[in-house]
């Protein structure tokens, strides 16, 4: 089985670089980096990554709206959200659109990796169930 592929949608080069460094050291492959929601939606159609890591606060359409578009176009999309906003209201909003995980910025690497592992496992189980 190949590496789990990831696309990062975040306007910050800091977040994108940090994510790339940590996940690629741990067996994932970052195959795309988009700087905003519009770019992320187009890139998802082209790359179909296994997991999308999505920031909430971005120029143009925000992460919540981007997630909704991606989920409408592909109900099997796997999304993890990141944000400096991590209060219970934001978490509720994220969950209300069907995304389970919101990681606060600045994140702890072990939390990010543990969440990715969970998403990877859930995705594999979902795919196995379909077979």
């Amino acid at each position: 089985m190949g590496k789990t592929t990831i696309m990062v949608v975040d306007d910050s080069p800091f977040a994108s670089k940090q994510i790339k460094d940590i996940v690629e050291e741990n067996g994932y492959e970052v195959i795309g980096y988009a700087k905003n929601g519009e770019e992320g939606i187009k890139m998802y159609e082209e790359l179909h990554p296994d997991i999308v890591i999505l920031d909430i606060i971005m120029p143009g359409i925000d992460g919540i709206e981007t997630a909704q578009v991606l989920m409408k176009e592909d109900p099997n999309v796997t999304i993890m959200m990141l944000s400096s906003l991590c209060d219970s209201g934001t978490l509720e909003e994220v969950r209300s659109i069907g995304v389970k995980y919101l990681i606060p910025k600045p994140w702890e690497d072990d939390v990010l990796l543990a969440t990715l592992e969970m998403l990877k496992k859930q995705r594999e189980e979902r795919l196995a169930d379909k077979k």
């Binding site: 910050s12 080069p13 800091f14 906003l85 209060d87």
Partner: protein, 154 residues
Amino acid sequence: MTDVKVEEIFDCAFVSVTKKIASLDLCRKSDGSLKIDDEYAGSVYTTGMFNSLVVMEFSPAICKHIIFTMTNGAEVTDEEKLLYMKEYVNIVCGRAISEINDETGSISRITIPIFHSLEEIIGEADKKSKKIVLHYETDIGIICVSVYYNDFGK
């Protein structure tokens, strides 16, 4: 929420986030006469129940240090430097607003941070009824934070 609590939340966000992402210890000073000779500042608005304008002035050496630490010393363009500073502002203010949201059970959001001339924002700051100021000194420079805000819900 009291003004003291708002001040405490912003203070805690600046100190903890700056330590975490820029490895910099901020030392709070009460001296309001600290002056920064830099014409640019970062700012962010918050909307919703907590309606505010947060303005941050940085010594050039502080900006340089924050960017250097965030990039692990890698060379970046001037445009990228700005993006790194915006992310720093986004993370600090996002942390503070999240705390205010949880404390008050309300929802406020932050806008995309911008960097610009201080003169451009004076008019906006005047529209708010309250102001708190946080001065920080470090070995390499100063950060001055002004939070202009209205009473909750106004």
